[in-house]
Amino acid sequence: MRRYKVITTVLLSAVLSWVLLLLNMDALGLDAKAQEVVEILPLWALITLGCHALFSIGSSLATFNDVPHEVDALHEDILRVKAALQSKGVPLE
């Protein structure tokens, strides 16, 4: 099965399981505390996902490698190459 089909199947199953659990909490004999947990589960999952994204994006931003010196290096190369072109008779703007 294709990857996205696996993912959507898993997601849908999870949602369905949660709904069934929510509707049958009393029948299954869950105490009040467990019921609170079930109710809050999707929100918790979403926030956990958000935290993971926040951490991942934040740390990659923090370690983002700026290379300003490459601009100067490129400028130098451009000047050198322009001089070479002019010596070969290429009209430059």
């Binding site: 099965m1 994006i57 931003l61 983002f64 290379v67």
Partner: protein
């Protein structure tokens, strides 16, 4: 699960593809020995695996020896940058002592880029600068397909024509490719040694969010860290096999290429510095973001 062709399965186990010989020469010592046997008998020169002893480059149908490396360079309104990038490319390959050609795919730019390309043919030689002129802006993906049709090299490089990719990294890519006989070597801005010049925080954030989304949805594996980059070296047959299967429209096809390649071929990365547009503004508006998300979703559901 879809049946994977034997080559792809081999790739998954980490073995590299032998590039097919463009010429059917064998060493005199073992006539009839195929290229793989010759390769096993004695380590061939890494850039010519067809013959273990000869240094002849394969002959091309159009006459003249075919270069080893072909650079595909789609251009649109790059009148200022084209001579510069061509000179930098020629410097890079001359330093390495490698034969090359640059296939300029020109989409009828109003600023006369094609004339500049012809001028550069005079300077560098018509065998080094090949000009493919197209009727108009037909898209980046088709530009590469058209360029590949005329390219004669065993290896194909792609990079941007606006000087954001510096040809000085080509030697790193070539060296990396030879190290492990990789099928694809891609430049990464996000590993140590790589980087970006000229991005503000907002642009960096956009890039990192885009990457996070792409990695979460597509899961390309540990070999790649930069999915949206477009400075890459391919064995020719990798592109020949992948191009017909691409489904993306627009620039996200770059992402689709590398994701598919990471699954089926041996991929390595080299760090590169990306200098964002020296001349002109880099466009990243709402339309581009929507196009990216749509493209990402297309790839996600097609892979």
């Amino acid at each position: 699960a879809p049946q994977r062709p034997p080559r792809a399965a081999a790739r998954a186990r980490g073995r590299a593809v032998d590039p097919p010989c463009t010429q059917g020469t064998h060493s005199a010592a073992n006539p009839g020995a195929g290229a793989p046997e010759a390769a096993l008998a004695s380590p061939p020169p890494l850039h010519n695996r067809c013959t273990s002893s000869s240094t002849l480059a394969p002959m091309a149908a159009g006459g003249g020896e075919a270069p080893v490396y072909s650079v595909l360079l789609p251009t649109y309104n790059e009148r200022q940058n084209l001579p510069l990038i061509l000179m930098l490319l020629s410097e890079a390959f001359d330093e390495m002592g490698e034969t090359y050609e640059v296939v300029v795919i020109e989409d009828n730019s109003p600023d006369g880029t094609a004339d500049v390309a012809r001028e550069m043919q005079r300077v560098l030689g018509a065998s080094r600068v090949v000009l493919v002129e197209r009727a108009g802006k037909l898209g980046l993906g088709t530009a590469y397909v058209d360029g590949l049709k005329v390219a004669r090299g065993r290896f194909v490089l792609i990079l941007d024509a606006d000087l954001s990719h510096h040809p000085k990294y080509i030697k790193d890519m070539v060296r990396k490719q030879r190290e492990g006989d990789y099928d694809v070597v891609t430049g990464t801005r996000y590993r140590r040694g790589g980087g970006v010049a000229g991005w503000d925080l907002r642009r960096k954030l956009t890039s990192r969010v885009a990457n996070y989304l792409a990695f979460t949805l597509l899961n390309p594996g540990p070999a790649v860290s930069d999915l949206t980059g477009s400075f890459r070296l391919f064995k020719r047959e990798v592109l020949e096999q992948l191009f017909p299967r691409l489904v993306s429209k627009g620039y996200v096809f770059q992402m689709e290429i590398i994701v598919r390649a990471a699954r089926e071929f041996k991929v390595a990365e080299v760090p590169i510095a990306f200098v964002d547009r020296l001349y002109g503004e880099s466009k990243l508006g709402g339309a581009e973001i929507v196009a990216y998300l749509h493209g990402l979703w297309t790839i996600f559901t097609q892979i």
